[in-house]
């Protein structure tokens, strides 16, 4: 990314540091982690297990604060949950005592607003959930549940969508399908998306940029651009570019862990 002609970031993480207090002392999850996400960009964050990816996402969402550093949305610091940010959690996180309609209406209910029915209907149709409104979550497959979660997260028309390993529990075919769906939804109404994942394939397929975090404490090790047109087809996954990218990312993650910290001493790919 070229800093000079880049637009103002939609979401800026500025030397975010987060320490958790534990019985055995403080655990540093994030250490001066900085990251800019530009408007309508899809950015994936990958990294070794426990590197602070989820901590980073929760900080972006305002659900928990930072020990030091800032998260800025449109240049305004985020101090708590923000209506302009939608979140898709791990494992759908639906309310099992509510049917799908009631799950989708949950955000409106909390806000005390009438549901934006045309928009909700549009989303429901978009993700292929028509006719399931009176089903309960336990009657649906994991993929279907995540579709509901995506509709719920987009129902208030957020400009930022944070996705925390949303498809980690799904089988790989369903996951591919969901990746297409996310792109579909994005093409339908562009949103700034930050996508946490364990899957390099998923990260590459979906993203404009893939951000690799270091092992804990997490900070940005490397950033890769993924220069494919949208909509993308799964065939891009068989190209040499993607192959090289996958190898490079794997080297960052696995290589760092086995000690040959090739690119891991951060040549901060930040601007």
């Amino acid at each position: 990314m070229d800093a000079a002609d880049a637009p103002a970031p939609k979401l800026r993480v500025d030397s975010a540091t987060k320490a958790y207090m534990t019985a055995t002392g403080d655990l540093l999850a994030l250490d001066r982690c900085s990251l800019d996400v530009f408007p309508n960009e899809i950015v994936s964050v990958v990294g070794p297990s426990g590197c602070g990816k989820t901590t980073l996402l929760w900080s972006m969402s305002g659900l928990h604060g930072l020990t030091s550093g800032d998260v800025l949305l449109d240049n305004q610091p985020i101090t708590g949950p923000h209506p302009d940010i939608g979140i898709v959690f791990q494992e759908a996180n639906l309310l099992p005592w509510r049917d799908l309609d009631a799950n989708i209406n949950f955000p409106f209910e909390i806000k005390g607003e009438a549901p934006d029915q045309p928009w909700v209907n549009h989303l429901v149709e978009r993700v292929g959930l028509e006719g399931f409104g009176s089903r309960f979550p336990r009657e649906l497959s994991g993929g279907m549940q995540q579709r509901v979660a995506i509709v719920r997260a987009l129902s208030l028309k957020p400009s930022v969508l944070l996705m925390d390993e949303p498809f980690g529990a799904l089988d790989s075919f369903t996951r591919d399908e969901m990746n297409h769906l996310v792109e579909d939804v994005w093409l339908d109404r562009p949103t700034t998306i930050v996508f946490i994942t364990h899957s390099i394939d998923e990260a590459i397929f979906l993203s404009d940029r893939v951000v690799v975090l270091t092992p804990r404490p997490g900070r940005v090790a490397e950033t890769y651009s993924v220069p494919f047109e949208r909509p993308r087809s799964f065939e891009i996954m068989a190209t040499k570019e993607v192959f090289d990218l996958t190898v490079a990312i794997k080297r960052d993650i696995v290589g760092g862990r086995v000690g040959a910290r090739g690119g891991a001493e951060p040549a901060l790919a930040e601007r």
Binding site: G80, E91, P96, F106, G128, H180
Partner: protein, 282 residues
Amino acid sequence: MSDNAIPEFSRPSRSGDGEQVSLANLSAFTSGPGATSRFEIAVIVAVAVLIIGSVEAALRLFEVPHYILPPPSAIAAALVTEFPLIAPHLGYTLVELFSGFAIGASIGLILAAVITQFPFAEKIVAPYILILVTTPMLALVPLLILRFGFGFTPRIIAVALAAGPMVMINAATGFRRVDSAKIALARAYGASTLQIFWKIRAPMALPMILVGLMIGAIFGLLTAVGAEMVGGGFGLGNRLTSYGSMIQMPQFFAVVLILSILGILIYVFFYLVGKKWANWEA
């Protein structure tokens, strides 16, 4: 994406099939046995008729005296002829049960909801609740009678003391089942503490609350009848001691039958409520 890519999942066709049964959820009793076909119902009825018939026949054949064990027919007859006399006592027992349960359950529920918000306070209170749960409240009835006389008051207090802690301990288990992801979801939309309570914590606790209410109501019934047996001139428990002392065994068993039916009605009521409102967990 195409519609046919969406797998369709249907509701499990039978209760009990592959559902998880644990004490922590209502399915422990909503997935209990229930007749599903005419054949099953026919067999169940036939077995019942057979058992009652055999008991009747055996008692007559061996000429067992009524004061030892009256035959089912005599109990049924007593139930019909004595019912007008028993009915007011049933009414008194129900008054004690309902008012005691209402008081005890409300206090138990409120305490559970409040105390689980303060883990430290919960630790302090827990042993006393445990004492209340494990001590038979019947033991206090003579004392309560000394203080409050032979009227409704000591019995209602005893029922409340028996039901309240049962409701509380189960409801507290429910309220303690914090799912931080669901609370985070609500918070992400700016939910207030009260909204989080009513829209996340309370529905999550509901299955356990219903279990608590059911156990509390049954303990309340036991305690009401027990308290009536200890002292005072009315109530089904009083009828039991009275018929027993006069060796009116058909009448005695008629009262026992009424009590069994009451217990079953309590169970069925909470079973249906659970099936309607808390069957999401399976």
